[in-house]
């Protein structure tokens, strides 16, 4: 794939926020790993919903409710196709990746986890893919095992495989590290776990904006992501689960929309996916997220992936060439993230001085404190890319960084 396939000028016109000035300078938005900007197509879809389709979904007798329901369920199919799930009902709408992981951790532990069992995660997980499992282990007397990473920020696969034991009940791993950008070989990792009969949950929050994800090719049992990181609205996310696994999990939140019949004595719950979608869902969020997926598919995930790869290579060359900069995360396979430290300088100071020049990055531990400990640092400066970023913006970033370091 060539860069030419992505018409950057046309793409940037779809994101009005990118034309803003910040601190008097043109905004260079390099905090896409935290949240991505939304194209007009998403904003228009949400506006259209409220102007023309707004009603509560499911069970409505009136036409407007039926139209809203159709739009909502069509969005589910859009997500299904985007990740190549086998069925629409394998897509559960949640508030985001964090809730998706919590849902699985909580319900899986309730049914399958016993004292002395093990849950395997990795050293590079986001807190959202650590804490739900930690809580599950505490409640059940199970043990949280952690697969280590090497100095480049790559998972040590041989260690991972050693940690897959007869006691391991589930594996939970990031597809792409939010701090290092490392792309984990999740397909092979899933295969290794499956050979021992262990299900795998993938935290795909940082993968889904950058690459084509095929849950059936990966053979993931669960795959989680957030709408807002893939150019959709905040407060909406996805839990994909294989039908057989979702059917095995007990209820999570219960309430309106999840049932077939209710009496004070007992309740008969509905099937997938409604059993996991209690209460009025985030309808406009779902519709906005589907519009975002339609939008990126219209560009092509292959073109996005190729363009971003070129951009990341360029950014890495520019930034690593600056005196004092040490890149954290130098894996062979990376996506979207450039993290670094500068000897003797606090990431916060660098981030603030970049912000004063219109360059938006993130600084700190990025919700991966154990990983910071692994690298013996207190935080990094993280520039995270999206397909609407340009080489010119990387140049602005590099010049701003040099100026910031000189000021410090």
């Amino acid at each position: 794939m060539k860069t030419a396939e992505l018409n950057i000028e046309s793409v940037r016109k779809d994101f009005p926020i990118l034309r803003q000035l910040m601190n008097g300078r043109p905004l260079v938005y390099l905090d896409n790993g935290a949240t991505a900007q939304k194209p007009l197509q998403v904003l228009k879809a949400i506006e259209k919903f409220y102007k023309e389709q707004n009603a509560n979904i499911h069970r409505g007798v009136h036409l407007l409710s039926q139209e809203a329901t159709v739009a909502y369920e069509k969005a589910r199919e859009t997500v299904q196709k985007h990740i190549n799930a086998a069925h629409p009902h394998e897509i559960i709408f949640t508030s985001g990746t964090t809730e998706s992981v919590n849902l699985v951790a909580h319900t899986f532990a309730k049914k399958f986890l016993e004292k002395g069992d093990e849950i395997l995660i990795t050293e590079m997980e986001h807190h959202s893919n650590i804490l739900p499992w930690q809580v599950a282990c505490e409640e059940k007397g199970a043990v949280l095992k952690v697969a280590p990473v090497n100095d480049k920020g790559e998972l040590i696969i041989s260690e991972y495989e050693k940690l897959l034991t007869p006691k391991t009940k589930i594996v939970a791993i990031a597809h792409v590290s939010n701090t290092l950008g490392t792309i984990n070989p999740v397909q092979e990792m899933i295969q290794a776990a499956h050979e021992k009969g262990i299900p795998v949950l993938i935290d795909g929050a940082q993968a889904i904006p950058h690459m084509k994800v095929d849950v059936r090719w990966l053979d993931a049992d669960f795959y989680c992501f957030s709408g807002h990181k893939v150019f959709g609205p905040t407060g909406i996310g996805v839990l994909y689960g294989k039908e057989e696994w979702l059917n095995k999990l007990p209820n999570y939140k219960v309430g309106g929309g999840t049932i077939r019949t209710v009496t004070f004595k007992e309740t008969e719950y509905g099937g997938l996916p409604i059993r996991f979608e209690a209460g009025t869902p985030n309808i406009d969020g779902v519709i906005g997220m589907a519009a975002a997926l339609d939008y990126i598919n219209g560009i092509s995930m292959d073109a996005i992936h190729a363009y971003e790869h070129e951009l990341l290579v360029y950014a890495t060359e520019r930034i690593s060439g600056i005196k004092g900069v040490r890149i954290i995360g130098t894996a062979a396979e990376k996506a979207g993230v450039l993290s670094f430290v500068v000897e003797g300088m606090h990431p916060l100071d660098i981030g603030m001085l970049l912000d004063a020049q219109g360059v938006a990055v993130r600084t700190g531990h990025h919700c991966t404190q154990p990983l910071m400990e692994r690298f013996k640092i207190n935080g990094t400066v993280r520039a995270s890319l999206a397909f609407y970023n340009t080489k010119e913006e990387i140049d602005v970033f590099a010049v701003a960084l040099i100026k910031a370091l000189q000021r410090l």
């Binding site: 008097g24 606090h346 916060l348 004063a356 020049q357 207190n378 935080g379 100026k403």
Partner: protein
């Protein structure tokens, strides 16, 4: 003659008004931080640590002749600048004066990041701790 809290605030507002660029303003704040006398190592204790999300600030205070005197340090220049500026405004005043201080100068000189930090971030924790220390001295009478 000792300056009032408001007089020091006005002085700081004037100093910052010399800069109209966010980068220069921030640079000035960082310089203020660099000019701060480091806190003695033995005062950098866990009890004196105000843990922000990203930077650590150590705040020490003492009461002398009815007035509170602060000293502090931080691991980031930006946070050290903020705390040094707060000390300049509040140190040497009575607990009552410190507790009453509105600290409106932050809004006046503020760049956006500083404003959000006053509401919810490390700066809010810093101000809260300085006022809590003052309250404790007042309670002790």
């Amino acid at each position: 003659m000792d300056k009032s809290i408001e007089e020091t605030e006005a002085e700081i507002i004037e100093e910052f008004s010399m800069f109209d660029d966010a980068f220069d303003k921030l640079g000035y704040l960082i310089d203020i931080g660099k000019s701060n006398k480091p806190l003695q190592e033995d005062l950098r204790t866990a009890e004196r640590l105000i843990k922000g999300c990203q930077a650590n600030v150590w705040l020490h205070s003492e009461l002398k002749e009815g007035k509170v005197y602060y000293s502090a340090d931080a691991d980031a220049d930006y946070a050290r600048g903020l705390v040094t500026m707060m000390i300049r405004v509040l140190s040497g005043h009575t607990p009552e004066e410190i507790m009453k201080a509105q600290l409106g100068f932050i809004e006046t000189i503020g760049f956006s990041s500083m404003l959000s930090m006053k509401r919810a971030g490390g700066l809010a924790s810093m101000i809260k701790q300085m006022k809590l220390d003052a309250l404790a001295y007042k309670a002790r009478g």
